[in-house]
């Protein structure tokens, strides 16, 4: 569902701008409860995470990069599709599965346990990648 939201965002720039404005107001006024705040922040992560290259996997020209991506436990990894063709992020172990990401759509997944998490694009299975999660 998260990725669905992100997708809608990509298609509705005005809505994003509007929500950012709302969130800003909520934060400024300080009336937002902790839960609401987290919710607002969570929605904005799709935009904000764009600055955190250490937890991102980019898709360009049918290639995930970097492979592998190494992160600490608890990290939320963001995949961003820059191609004009949709791609997916499917765990080969069945741990996560994105919808088809259109151009500039994002998918996020938080890794709560150490280990190796191979993934591929179910549309273009030649595309493979891996997240290494360290304790």
């Amino acid at each position: 569902m998260q990725q669905l939201k992100m997708k809608q965002f990509a298609n509705l720039k005005w809505s994003v701008a509007f929500l950012i404005a709302i969130a800003s107001v909520m934060i400024l006024v300080g009336t937002a409860s902790q839960a609401q705040h987290e919710n607002a922040s969570g929605k904005l992560v799709g935009t904000a995470a764009g600055t955190d290259a250490a937890s991102q996997v980019m898709i360009d020209n049918f290639v995930y990069s970097p492979v592998p991506l190494t992160v600490k436990v608890g990290t939320t990894v963001t995949w961003i599709n820059h191609d004009d063709i949709p791609h997916t992020i499917d765990s080969t172990q069945g741990k996560f599965k994105s919808a088809a990401l259109d151009t500039d759509d994002k998918f996020e997944f938080q890794f709560k346990e150490a280990g190796e998490y191979p993934f591929y694009c179910r549309i273009h299975p030649k595309m493979t990648g891996k997240i290494i999660v360290q304790p």
Binding site: D84, P86, T88, A100, Y120, I123, P125, K126
Partner: protein, 332 residues
């Protein structure tokens, strides 16, 4: 870039045409002819003709013809073609203007870009304007992005088996629509899968070896360029079931350009897209859409007309670009 593509196709044909038939020049020409394929089946041996010559209807005298279109990608709106619905319409207009009305059409997949209901709606509406009312579909990977292709099956795959495969007979020719875009494995190519292969073996069993066979599927059933996923992992097994037949024609899409090869009695052919071109294998950064100047776009999109002739023992395939000019093949 065009020269490189030409070289590549030429090279492939050099490698493959060792049967002594003067087909190379013809295929080379066909590879450049464009966006629509007209198939003429005659007695089981595939023969191609240039679209411009198809006006000489009597010289073909085919029993019937059908048209292949492919990769409409309705919903795609990027610079490589901001209006794929318009180019699909041009393709349909071109089909409707063919001198010989096709008995039916086949669409070799990627009807939609993102499997959205609205995209399927648009495609459906546009195809209703085609003179050929009967249309046979197979899904592309873009038609199965959600719900494992349920939506596709309900709308375009009624009565099919499994993920959408089926067969039918038309005037003595046996047609088989195959699905090689479902349940793909990490690191792999297109896949037919065990269940479908068993069905295919059974479907072909007991048919006379003189029956012309036409197999069609989205991803090529021959290995064109594995690095880009342009092939099918278990296609060899499928092809082993058709070895005993005198005439086998394999029609695919997926690669958005025309390529052909002949291997024994099996001829392989891929069709152009009605939406956007893709680069020649290994000659572009990826298998993604290739942007060409706007005035060149219709030269690299097209339809395929296939003409079947019982008496002439030939199956003629004609690719023609949407722009109607034969400039692509004029060099031949």
């Amino acid at each position: 870039m065009a020269d490189k593509k030409h070289d590549l196709i030429d090279q492939k044909l050099h490698d493959l045409n060792n049967d002594g038939v003067d087909r190379r020049g013809f295929l080379k020409c066909m590879a450049w002819a464009g966006t629509g394929l007209v198939w003429t089946l005659g007695g089981g041996v595939p023969v191609s003709r240039v679209f411009a010559k198809s006006a000489k209807k009597n010289s073909m005298g085919g029993n019937f013809s059908f048209v292949q279109i492919s990769d409409s990608h309705i919903g795609f709106d990027k610079p490589a073609n901001p209006d794929v619905t318009a180019t699909l319409q041009v393709a349909i207009d071109k089909i409707n203007a063919l001198p010989e009305k096709p008995d039916f059409m086949i669409h070799t997949g990627d009807l939609s870009h993102l499997s959205k209901p609205s995209e399927f709606d648009t495609l459906d509406q546009a195809l209703r304007g085609a003179a050929a009312k009967q249309i046979y579909f197979v899904p592309g990977e873009h038609d199965m992005l959600t719900d494992n292709g349920e939506q596709y099956l309900q709308r375009f795959g009624k009565g099919s088996k499994g993920t959408g495969w089926y067969s039918f007979d038309h005037k003595g020719v046996h047609f088989v629509g195959l699905v090689n875009v479902a349940n793909l494995k990490a690191g792999g190519l297109g896949s037919l899968g065990h269940e479908q292969l068993e069905w295919l073996e059974d479907d072909l069993k007991g048919r006379s070896a003189s029956t012309p066979i036409v197999l069609f599927a989205h991803i090529p059933l021959w290995t064109i360029y594995p690095d880009w996923g342009w092939g099918t992992d278990d296609s060899e097994q499928a092809l082993s079931y058709v070895k005993r037949f005198g005439s086998v024609t394999v029609l695919n899409g997926h690669i958005h350009q025309v390529m052909q090869k002949v291997e024994g009695k099996v001829s392989f052919h891929t069709a152009m897209s009605t939406a956007f071109p893709q680069g020649a294998p290994g000659k572009a950064p990826s298998a993604g859409p290739m942007k060409v100047p706007a005035d060149q776009l219709k030269k690299v999109l097209g339809i395929t007309d296939v003409n079947y002739q019982v008496s002439g023992k030939s199956l003629a395939i004609v690719d023609s670009p949407l722009d109607g000019s034969m400039s692509a093949s004029s060099g031949e």
